[in-house]
């Protein structure tokens, strides 16, 4: 049975079990939309270079309840670190029982709990905001299965001292698995938080993740968000991170992709209040047949916002990359400053990148810049290093390490930065200097 067929069966099963209410009506509307639009094909301009039909025609199991993993499995994915909370998704379902969150700055609930609690208004206000921007079937499909997701509230005036880690574990020991994690994070006034999302696959079969995480950041709050992908070639991923900057606030988002199968990352930064500031960084360093597609939207709705976007790619083997960066400056958004840059190095003749900035500006007093490059390593720099006795392989590794360093510097959590640095150096086959 193809994934598209399985989805029909599973939707009815889930919906019957999960009942009605707030989430029920979101699910119903979304499922209708999904059925209308279907899985996006390459005829859709937004999906021109990223093909999903090969995946959706395959057989994938869809689990709507969680299998609790062993301690050993958990330890396998955890970064040894001090944390404010460690939250586990297993096969796309948030598993509260194995998560830890004893921090009085935080409220952690499953989404269906939250929808029925005193925090209902947060869910009403902020859940599914991404659907305004993501009109394709993948976003709708995730919404159609919204039930056992995660709700996190960072309370007003609280500074969460250590990062929150979200681990996504997919068990593909027995079969191909399709998972749909869903999260909502609300960062209240004057609060500060760091959030990390990590993905881990256990097993040799294929996994296909269709994730949506929505984050609402309120007045004077500060968000750091990190998404790190380092699964194997059998792990496919479509994910949307939707950051809604409700009040004047600061956000800093970093997406790092080191390995995987077919990967599509959407990130939306919606600057809804004047004087908002947002930073988007990305590094993709892939080889083999990995396909990585980063699509971003920065939407300036109000005056005096600042955004800076900087993505870098190192492409080896037969890998393919896509960068598509949209910047909207709406009529009201005078004095917008929006910067965007995408730089790629191809280290194999068979690797390729399609990079495309897209600016739509409806205000007149704005400063926007964008630029993209696709090239090889700088021959002059390479020669300089070799002329000092450094072998070609090591010289290349040093230059690539330096290329990646710009983005790694944006990782402000030491344990995560060290982990990434080690992974990258292993990949480059150089000793850590």
């Amino acid at each position: 049975m193809s994934l598209t067929e399985t989805i029909q069966d599973k939707y009815n099963e889930l919906n019957a079990a999960a009942g009605n209410g707030l989430l029920g009506s979101i699910r119903a509307k979304a499922f209708e939309l999904y059925n209308k639009s279907g899985i996006p094909t390459s005829r859709n301009e937004e999906w021109k270079y990223t093909r999903l039909t090969g995946l959706t025609n395959k057989n994938f199991a869809v689990h709507t309840t969680a299998v609790v993993p062993t301690k050993e499995m958990l330890n396998n994915v955890r970064l040894q670190s001090e944390f404010a909370a460690e939250l586990f998704f297993v096969n796309g379902v948030f598993v509260k029982e194995i998560s830890t969150f004893t921090n009085d700055a935080l409220v952690v609930l499953s989404l269906h709990e939250a929808a029925d609690s005193e925090y209902k208004t947060y869910v009403q206000q902020h859940l599914n905001q991404s659907s305004k921007y993501m009109k394709d079937g993948m976003n709708a499909l995730n919404a159609a299965f919204t039930a056992n997701g995660l709700f996190v509230l960072v309370k007003k005036n609280k500074v969460v001292e250590h990062p929150i880690f979200i681990y996504h574990i997919t068990g593909t020991e027995n079969d191909n698995v399709f998972v749909q994690p869903r999260s909502l994070l609300v960062v209240e006034e004057n609060a500060q938080v760091q959030l990390v999302e990590l993905y881990k696959n256990n097993g040799l079969h294929e996994s296909f993740t269709n994730e949506v995480i929505e984050i609402a950041v309120q007045e004077n709050a500060r968000l750091e968000y990190y998404k790190v992908q380092d699964e194997n070639e059998n792990c496919h991923h479509v994910g949307t991170t939707h950051v809604q900057q409700v009040g004047k606030c600061f956000t800093h988002c970093v997406t790092i992709t080191l390995n995987g199968g077919t990967i599509r990352n959407n990130i939306n930064m919606i600057l809804e209040a004047p004087n908002n500031e947002g930073h988007l960084y990305g590094l993709y360093m892939v080889n083999g047949k990995t396909h990585v597609d980063n699509h971003s939207i920065v939407d300036n709705l109000k005056p005096n916002c600042f955004s800076n976007e900087f993505y870098k790619g190192i492409m080896d083997g037969n890998s393919t990359g896509v960068f598509n960066g949209k910047i909207f400056v709406r009529q009201d958004a005078q004095k917008t400053n929006a910067y965007q840059s995408n730089k790629n190095v191809l280290i194999s003749d068979n690797a390729s990148v399609n990079t495309k900035p897209q600016l739509e500006i409806f205000a007149d007093d704005v400063k926007c810049s964008h630029g993209c490059t696709v090239g090889q390593l700088d021959e002059d720099a390479l020669f300089y290093l070799r002329a000092r006795g450094i072998g070609e392989k090591k010289a290349k590794a040093l230059l690539l390490h330096a290329f990646a360093a710009d983005i790694l510097e944006q990782v402000k959590i030491d344990v995560l930065k060290n982990y990434l640095e080690k992974k990258i150096d292993e990949r480059l086959d150089i000793e850590v200097l």
Binding site: A381, L385, A387, R388, G389, E392, K394, L399, L433
Partner: protein
Amino acid sequence: MLTINNLHAQIEDKKILNGIDLQINAGEVHAIMGPNGSGKSTLASVLAGRSDYEVTDGTVEFDGVDLLEMSPEERAREGLFLAFQYPIEIPGVSTTNFIKTAVNEARKHRGQDALDAVSFLKLMKERMKLVKIDQSLLSRSLNEGFSGGEKKRNEIFQMAMLEPKLAILDETDSGLDIDALRIVADGVNALRSKDNATLVITHYQRLLDYIVPDFVHVLYKGRIVKSGGKELALELEEKGYDFIKQTIAEGV
């Protein structure tokens, strides 16, 4: 130490070196002078192993082995050093780590153990004094944002760290004020020994007051058209390159 025989080189069908003969022995300092565009940097690049230039004829022996067969890194490890006319800025690569890697690659090649952190620092401190280079410069990214003079001094510092058999200095003097020039020259002189040799490429005679050459060669249109002692540099300074051009024209 270095024997160049009838060396011809070109880039994309453009002939730049048209038969160079040059013999440099251990303990000697040679100077190559010549007008802009005569092929001085090309000669230096070919010797260092830059593959953009195609050697179409001739041979180069370095300590009895065929230099042209070696990769740039092998040449460096064998003791050939080029101080670049235009040192490259490499953001994200720390100067200190770069030099440490380079020193240890050469040591490995000679069958020596890598220097530990303490010995490396000690050597660095000592050589820093020699070229009066500041620690703060070395903790920055390689040449990034360095002034012209700082870049040149960093080249000589690298040379001091690597202790090459043959150092080729490509217009190390250009862009240096007189104090910096003196420091660079003092450094080069301090490293001179009977076992190593230096090839100084320069456009002006000035540097040769401080690094006194045993031989001076004039390069013109890719050939050495005149060789002599250090007085040849003074003659060139006095009469200018036009005098060489004239001599050549008359000879034809």
